[in-house]
C-alpha cells in the first residue's frame, strides 16, 4: 500500500477531488498547511510598515491506495487537475504504507483502504 501526499493550491482542491472520485478513490484526508518553495511570498502592510508573508496557504491531500499500480493514475489525475503552470503548484510525495486498519470494522490490509 502507498500513501500519495499532494501539496496543492487551495483553489484546486474541488476539481482534484472530483477527478479522484471519478477514478474510484473517494477516501482522502485534507489538511490546511502553509508552504514555501520556488513560489515567492508577498509583501503586506500594517499601518504603514511593511512585512513579508513567506508561507503561502496550501492544502495537503493524503490518499492511501491499495497497491503500487494505483499510484500512477492517481498521480496523473492530480498533476492534471492541480496544475496551473505557475510557481506554487506544489508537489506530490509517495510513501510506503505497511498496514491499514478500518476503525469501524477492524478490517485490515487492502480491504480496509
Amino acid at each position: 500500500m502507498k500513501k500519495i501526499e499532494a501539496i496543492i493550491r487551495p483553489e484546486r482542491v474541488s476539481v482534484v477531488k472530483e477527478a479522484l472520485e471519478l477514478l474510484g478513490y473517494p477516501g482522502m484526508t485534507l489538511t490546511e498547511v502553509k508552504g514555501h518553495g520556488k513560489q515567492k511570498g508577498f509583501v503586506q502592510q500594517w499601518r504603514g510598515s511593511q512585512y513579508r508573508i513567506e508561507f503561502l496557504p496550501k492544502v495537503k491531500l493524503e490518499l492511501v491506495v491499495e497497491n503500487g499500480e494505483a499510484v500512477k493514475p492517481v498521480v496523473e489525475a492530480i498533476v492534471q487537475h492541480a496544475r496551473t503552470g505557475e510557481a506554487g503548484d506544489g508537489k506530490i510525495f509517495i510513501y510506503p504504507v505497511e498496514e491499514v486498519v478500518r476503525i469501524r470494522t477492524g478490517e485490515r490490509g487492502t480491504e480496509a483502504v
Partner: protein, 470 residues
C-alpha cells in the same frame, strides 16, 4: 421628513411660542439675521428650538451608528478574505460621501428650488447657510445620504475595485441621492403631484433605501456575479458569510439606529407622533423577522438565520415611508409582507443569476418600493403632511380612494428609473474610465484584502475559503 425652514408652528407649538414672544418683547428686539451661527437669535425667537436641537442631534447620532451596523452586517455576510476591503469601503463611503454632500449635495437637495427640479443654494454650508438651523438640517441629512451610499456596498461586495467604489460614493452623495431627495423632501415636483397629498415618504423608504437598493442592482449587474456563485449550468451556489455573530450584531445596531432614522424624521420634538412612529418601527421589524423565518422554513425546512436577519431589516425598510401614518397592526402587516418579499427576492435574484452577496437589492430596493406603496394602502388619516397639520394622508384601505396610492406608485416608478438608470450609466462609465470596475479574477480568488490593501483582516487565524472545499 420634509424640508424645514425656520420652525414649524402648529397650533399648540404656537401656544408656547406666542407666549414666549410676548415675554421677549420686554427685551430689546433682536433683528432677525438671515444667518445665525451662534444660535442666540434662533433660541430667542423660537425657544422651543432647543428641544428640536436635542432631538435632532441625538437622532442624527443614532442614524450615524447605522454605518457601523451596515459595516458589521455586510462583513458578516461576506467572506473573511474580503473584509478589509469592505471595512475600507464602509468607512470611506461615509467619509468621502459626507464631504461631497457638504460641498454640493445638500445645496442641490435643500437649496432654493429651481422649478421643483433642483436646489441652488447653500453650497459648502457657507454664507447665509452658516446658521445653526441649516447646520442642524445638514447634520441629520448627511447621515441619510451616507446611508443610501453604504447600502450599495453590499450589492457590489467582494469584487468591485476600491477606486471605482470611491468615485461612485462621490456621485451618489453629490448627485443621485440629493436630486431625487429634492423632488420628495426639498419641495420638488414629486411632493407636488396632483394625487392624494402628493408623493410622500416619511423617513425614506424611497429616498434612501430604494435609491441605494437600485443603484446597487445596477452595480451588481454591471459587475456580474462573483466567481463560483453560479456554475456552468447557471445553478446558484451558496457562498456563506464569515461571521453570523457580526451579522447579527449589525442587525441589532441597525435596528437601534432606525429609531433615530424614523422618529427623528419628525424633525421636531413637538411632534408627539414620534411615539407611534417608534412603535411601528419596532413592530414592523419584529414582524419582518418572524415572517421571513416562517417563509424560508416553509420552503427549505431550515431555521435560516441569515434570512431572518435580512427579514428584520426588510421590515424596517418597509415601515420607513409609512411609519408616521399607520397604526400598530398595520405596521405588523407591512413588516410581514416585507419579510415575504425579502425571501422571494433573494431566491428570485439567485434564480435570474443576479449576484447580490448580502441581499441588498431585495432588502432595500424591493422593500423600499413596498414601503412607498404601503402608505397608499394603510395610511389611516390620523396624521398630516409630516406634521399634525392637514391635509391628512389617507390610503385606500381607509377610504382615501386610489389617489394616494397613485402618488406613491408614481414616486416608486420614478425612484426605480432614476436610481437604476443613473446607476447603470455611472457604473458603465466608471467601467470604461477605470478599464474595468472589477478586480482581476486572480485577486478575487485570493481575496481583495491581500492585493490592494496589502493586508488581511484576521492574521492570527487560519482562514479557509469554504466553497472550493465542497
Amino acid at each position: 421628513m420634509a424640508i424645514v425652514r425656520g420652525w414649524r408652528t402648529p397650533l399648540c407649538g404656537g401656544v408656547i411660542l406666542s407666549l414666549l414672544f410676548a415675554a421677549s418683547s420686554l427685551f430689546q428686539p433682536v433683528t432677525a439675521l438671515a444667518a445665525d451661527p451662534s444660535g442666540e437669535t434662533t433660541l430667542l425667537e423660537h425657544p422651543s428650538a432647543s428641544l428640536d436641537f436635542i432631538w435632532i442631534v441625538f437622532a442624527a447620532a443614532l442614524v450615524f451608528i447605522m454605518q457601523g451596523g451596515f459595516a458589521m452586517l455586510t462583513a458578516g455576510l461576506c467572506r473573511a478574505k474580503n473584509v478589509v476591503n469592505l471595512m475600507m469601503k464602509n468607512l470611506m463611503d461615509f467619509s468621502i460621501g459626507s464631504l461631497a454632500y457638504f460641498s454640493v449635495g445638500f445645496a442641490l437637495m435643500f437649496g432654493a428650488t429651481r422649478g421643483g427640479l433642483l436646489g441652488t443654494s447653500g453650497w459648502f454650508l457657507s454664507g447665509e447657510s452658516y446658521d445653526v438651523s441649516e447646520y442642524l438640517l445638514f447634520l441629520f441629512q448627511v447621515m441619510f445620504a451616507a446611508t443610501a451610499a453604504t447600502i450599495v456596498a453590499g450589492a457590489v461586495a467582494e469584487r468591485m475595485k476600491v477606486k471605482a467604489y470611491f468615485l461612485y460614493s462621490i456621485v451618489i452623495c453629490a448627485l443621485i441621492y440629493p436630486l431625487y431627495g429634492h423632488w420628495v423632501w426639498g419641495g420638488g415636483w414629486l411632493s407636488a403631484l396632483p394625487f392624494g397629498v402628493g408623493h410622500v415618504d416619511f423617513a425614506g423608504s424611497g429616498v434612501v433605501h430604494a435609491v441605494g437598493g437600485f443603484v446597487g442592482l445596477a452595480g451588481a449587474l454591471v459587475l456580474g456575479p462573483r466567481i463560483g456563485k453560479f456554475d456552468r449550468q447557471g445553478k446558484p451556489h451558496a457562498i456563506p458569510g464569515h461571521s453570523m455573530t457580526l451579522a447579527a450584531l449589525g442587525v441589532f445596531i441597525l435596528w437601534f439606529g432606525w429609531y433615530g432614522f424614523n422618529a427623528g424624521s419628525t424633525l421636531s420634538a413637538l411632534e408627539l407622533r414620534s411615539a407611534v412612529i417608534a412603535v411601528n418601527t419596532t413592530l414592523a421589524a419584529s414582524s419582518g423577522a418572524v415572517f421571513s423565518l416562517i417563509a424560508i422554513h416553509a420552503i427549505t425546512k431550515k431555521l435560516d438565520v441569515g434570512m431572518a436577519l435580512n427579514g428584520a431589516i426588510a421590515g424596517l425598510v418597509g415601515i420607513t415611508a409609512p411609519c408616521a401614518w399607520v397604526e400598530g397592526w398595520a405596521a405588523i402587516v407591512i413588516g410581514a409582507v416585507a419579510g415575504l418579499i425579502v425571501v422571494l427576492g433573494v431566491l428570485g435574484f439567485d434564480r435570474i443569476r443576479v449576484d447580490d452577496p448580502v441581499g441588498a437589492v431585495s432588502v432595500h430596493g424591493l422593500n423600499g418600493i413596498w414601503g412607498l406603496l404601503a402608505v397608499g394602502l394603510f395610511a389611516d388619516g390620523s396624521y398630516g403632511l409630516y406634521t399634525t397639520e392637514g391635509p391628512m394622508v389617507v390610503g385606500l384601505l381607509y377610504g382615501g380612494g386610489v389617489g394616494q396610492l397613485v402618488a406613491q406608485a408614481v414616486g416608486a416608478a420614478v425612484v426605480f428609473v432614476w436610481a437604476f438608470g443613473l446607476g447603470l450609466v455611472l457604473f458603465k462609465l466608471l467601467d470604461v474610465l477605470l478599464r474595468g470596475i472589477r478586480v482581476a479574477p486572480q485577486e478575487e480568488i485570493e481575496g481583495l484584502d491581500v492585493g490592494e490593501h496589502g493586508g488581511r483582516a484576521y492574521p492570527n487565524f487560519t482562514v479557509v475559503d469554504e466553497p472550493p472545499l465542497h
